[in-house]
């Protein structure tokens, strides 16, 4: 067991020109935790993900992954370290099959050279078989057997979300970042997704950070929650505490501050 927290965000700030997207936000995610970031639209949730994931370089602050400073590293390096994510507006290859999309998630584990890959022998062959086996386990886990050979673009939205999750899982991440995994879904799809997220935590032991503005699902499944509003952290705690927090109620239900 690693006693270091899986993710530490320290005094993180991000400014886009004149807009302060996040202001000195700090929080810490323990290993095996299901952690949620919530807040109204524009609160800076996705920006934090983009910083953790290396898409943005934060203006100020530090991000530690298992105690190691990863601030400002390139995205692919961060991915190789074991952080996978999904996107708010599904980023899959729409003209490829489900299987191919999932296999792409295995990229960090493929090391065969051009020659081996081209003639498909030795290491390349072994890796490919290994990858397919892992991907099949994910297919089984997410119950998408029926879609293996289907083109992603032709599938219903809820299923595409599941496939994106599958691709992230194919990286066998230590930390999984889920950006609004249930947005735009109907009640049944939402319930399914919530169950998969819980299964990921319990069966695979993966640490999960999820973003959502739908309080319902988050309150049901998260261990701990951080609430953001206009780029600042306004509350942190267990779902029950959060639900009773006057500041949070104000942010969600209170008058619009324009």
């Amino acid at each position: 067991m690693n006693s270091l927290p899986t993710l530490q965000v320290l005094n993180l700030s991000m400014r886009f020109g004149g807009i302060q997207a996040i202001r000195e936000v700090s929080f810490q995610v323990e290993e095996g935790e299901l952690f949620a970031l919530i807040g109204p639209n524009g609160a800076g949730k996705s920006t934090i993900f983009n910083c953790v994931n290396g898409l943005y370089k934060p203006t100020q602050g530090m991000i530690l992954f298992q105690g190691e400073d990863i601030t400002g590293l390139k995205s692919f390096r961060i991915a190789h370290k074991g952080i996978a994510r999904t996107f708010q507006n599904i980023a899959l290859f729409h003209h490829m099959t489900v299987l191919d999309n999932l296999l792409l998630g295995r990229n960090p584990y493929l090391h065969a050279g051009v020659l081996g890959g081209g003639f498909f022998f030795g290491k390349a062959l072994r890796e490919e078989i290994e990858s397919r086996k892992d991907v099949e386990e994910i297919i089984d886990f997410l119950e998408i057997e029926g879609f293996r050979k289907k083109i992603v673009g032709s599938l219903p939205f809820g299923i595409q979300r599941r496939i994106e999750l599958g691709r992230a899982l194919a990286m066998k991440p230590k930390l999984l970042l889920l950006d609004e995994p249930v947005s735009g879904m109907n009640a049944e799809e939402r319930e399914d997704m919530a169950r998969f997220i819980l299964d990921i935590k319990e069966e695979l032991g993966t640490t999960v950070v999820l973003i959502d503005h739908d309080m319902g699902v988050v309150m049901d499944i998260a261990d701990r929650i951080v609430v953001l509003n206009f780029g600042t952290k306004i509350a942190e705690g267990a779902p029950k505490q959060i639900a009773a927090d006057p500041g949070v109620i104000q942010a969600y239900l209170g008058e619009e501050r324009q």
């Binding site: 089984d140 057997e145 029926g146 879609f147 293996r148 050979k149 819980l198 319990e202």
Partner: protein, 603 residues
């Protein structure tokens, strides 16, 4: 060779001797087909059965099984029987309330569930089931952290059995020898279009006689392949995946999930295929839809060869002699079109095709026959072990359900009701002697269906006795014939004809969402949900055309004067359909009373 008792587990033991290392079952696991030999099949049943004993199962106890088809389903089924118990299949689509009803009514002491989804249903109602002792879960995914003290995994069950085997070797063989042909092997809960489900008790003698009779009149062999996909709690799939498999020794293949059946059919290319009319209709509709998007050449081939094929079938039915020309034409058609279609459906290798559990439209039968696939209709009741009549061999007379199985005597009552007597007639309904008395009190099994006996004992079913519509004009009409004709349309999923005590016939129609939405997209009709699609005036027009087309084939009084489109899909959950997706006519008529009245001008 040692002899084994005439029971299903007895057949398993003799198959282990006959076939040993040959493949008995096949299931797709992580995308790869995994095989189970008859030896392994036997061992699994053995350990599972001893595991049940370790959990306290005694002779006559009931074990419920709840979940989609898989290997463990069959292991548990046979294991319960081998231990002297009775297996009770529960439909995986049943909501918790109905699961509770079956578990409670059957006094099940153990329940074997497939996965978390089904386990949750049982856990939800467990506090109200005093008899229930343990829940065995085949796939523990998502459940490991529940730690319900009464829940164990299937592999834990088998380990219990292995321990028991070590402690007292030979116990299982002894148990096998103790099962008697008159023990109740299964209880099948009839989904019943009226009233709560009843548990029909079927004995080993019933089922073994059925297997013998059935295999005599169909050409099945141990090299055959079947795909198991209909719910195993229904007698039809139990017959195919368990009873006949034990008798004949063919291989049973399980699809990964219900969504991959089509794919699995294609991969396995079964040689024996049993389906309900709904599946045959769906495949037929899917071909028609795919034809619309096909290339011109393909559409042309379809346009030429299907009508030609139908013409050939009609000639055959009229008994006109085939000439060399027709044979040549048929062969040409096979290579030009029929073969390709059968291949796409995964039916290319099918030798024995069977349709049962509900009446099928003659038009659908003719379509498949044109492709070269002769579908045998079977007819029977759960109470008669599922099958009493079948088309023998190649003699597939369209419109008739064939002749009695060997051992079955069939008779028509004065009012035309079909009565049968055979070794397959069940032992009675569980805890319901009065209902038992009502259906087989006089020694004959009363089917509740009305039929006509033709020459050579060919039976033709008219309709359910209770469903016969008598219009206020006094005309007797069998609604199912009209409904089936309507359902031939690729755009119509379900039709309920109404008219009992009314001046004319009307129908409630549920559109086939997939095909109609495709049609709407082609026409640039915008819609958001099933409801908005069903309410669109152009859709109404489309269905009207289909209804008029169907009406042409019936006399004026039998025609549908008015119809309405349902703005919701009929559902098992809402109690409009049975678990086998048959319409509960009464429930639908009550639920849509206002709609129906509006078609007769009363509000």
């Amino acid at each position: 060779m040692t002899s084994f008792p005439e029971t299903l587990p007895g057949l398993l033991a003799s198959n282990r001797q006959r076939f040993a290392g040959r493949t008995a079952l096949r299931e797709k696991e992580l995308g790869v087909w995994k095989e189970v030999s008859w030896n392994e099949y036997y061992d699994h049943v053995k350990y599972c059965s001893l595991g049940f004993l370790a959990l306290g199962l005694q002779k006559g106890d009931k074990v419920a099984i709840l979940g989609d088809n898989c290997r463990e389903w069959l292991y548990a089924d046979l294991a319960a029987q081998a231990a002297g118990g009775t297996a009770v299949g529960v439909y995986p689509t049943n909501p918790p309330k109905q699961v509770e009803y079956v578990l409670d009514h059957s006094d099940s002491i153990l329940v074997v569930v497939r996965d978390q989804e089904q386990a949750d249903k049982v856990l939800e109602v467990k506090s109200r089931l005093p008899e229930l002792r343990k829940i065995v879960v085949m796939d523990m995914k998502g459940l490991r952290h529940y730690r319900d003290p009464d829940t164990l995994s299937f592999s834990e069950l088998e380990s219990l059995g292995k321990e028991k085997d070590k402690a007292s070797p030979g116990l299982f063989e002894e148990l096998l020898g103790r099962t008697r042909p008159d023990d109740v092997a299964l209880m099948v809960y009839t989904s019943g279009t009226t009233g709560p489900p009843k548990g029909a008790m079927l004995t080993h003698r019933n089922l073994v006689s059925l297997a013998r009779g059935f295999s005599q009149v169909t050409e099945m062999k141990s090299e055959d392949q079947v795909v198991s996909y209909l719910p195993l709690s229904h007698i039809a799939e139990r017959l195919v995946s368990l009873i006949l498999a034990l008798q004949v020794g063919y291989t049973v293949n399980f699809a990964e999930s219900i969504d991959t059946v089509q794919e699995s059919l294609y991969e396995i290319a079964p040689t024996v295929f049993v389906a309900v009319p709904r599946i045959w209709e769906k495949m037929h509709a899917s071909i028609q839809i795919r034809m619309k998007d096909a290339s011109r050449l393909k559409r042309m081939a379809y346009g030429i060869w299907i009508p030609l094929g139908r013409k050939m079938v009609d000639r055959e039915i009229r008994g006109e002699a085939g000439s060399l020309g027709w044979t040549l034409l048929r062969t040409l058609g096979y290579w030009c079109l029929y073969r390709a279609i059968l291949d796409k459906l995964g039916l290319l290798r099918v030798r024995v095709a069977i349709s049962g559990s509900a009446p099928i439209a003659p038009d659908i039968l003719k379509f498949y026959r044109a492709l070269g696939l002769r579908i045998s209709e079977v007819y029977g009741q759960t109470e008669g072990s599922g099958v009493s009549h079948i088309h023998h061999g190649n003699d597939t007379r369209i419109g008739s359900v064939g002749k009695p199985l060997p051992g079955v005597v069939c008779w028509l009552d004065e009012d035309g009701e079909i009565l049968t007597r055979s070794p397959m007639v069940f032992a009675g309904y569980y805890k319901d002697p009065s209902a038992t008395q009502a259906v087989r009190g006089d020694g004959w099994l009363h089917s509740g269906d009305v039929g006509v006996l033709g020459p050579e004992g060919y039976l033709t079913i008219t309709d359910r006795k209770k469903a016969i519509i008598i219009t206020s004009g006094g005309k007797n009409i069998a609604p199912s014939e009209i409904e089936n004709r309507l359902k031939c349309s690729p755009y119509i999923n379900e039709a309920v004809v109404i008219g009992d005590g009314r001046p004319y016939l009307t129908a409630l129609i549920q559109i086939e969402y997939e095909t109609v939405s495709q049609w709407a997209q082609d026409k640039n009709i915008s819609f958001t949900t099933f409801k908005s699609l069903a309410q669109h005036p152009e859709v109404l027009e489309l269905i009207d055309k289909e209804v008029q087309e169907a009406n042409k084939e019936f006399s004026r009084v039998e025609g549908i004067k008015k119809f309405l489109l349902l703005d919701k899909q009929l559902d098992h959950d809402d109690e409009e359909l049975t678990a086998t997706l048959k319409v509960r006519r009464k429930s639908v008529e009550t639920k849509f009373r206002d709609l129906i009245d509006s078609m007769y001008g009363r509000r």
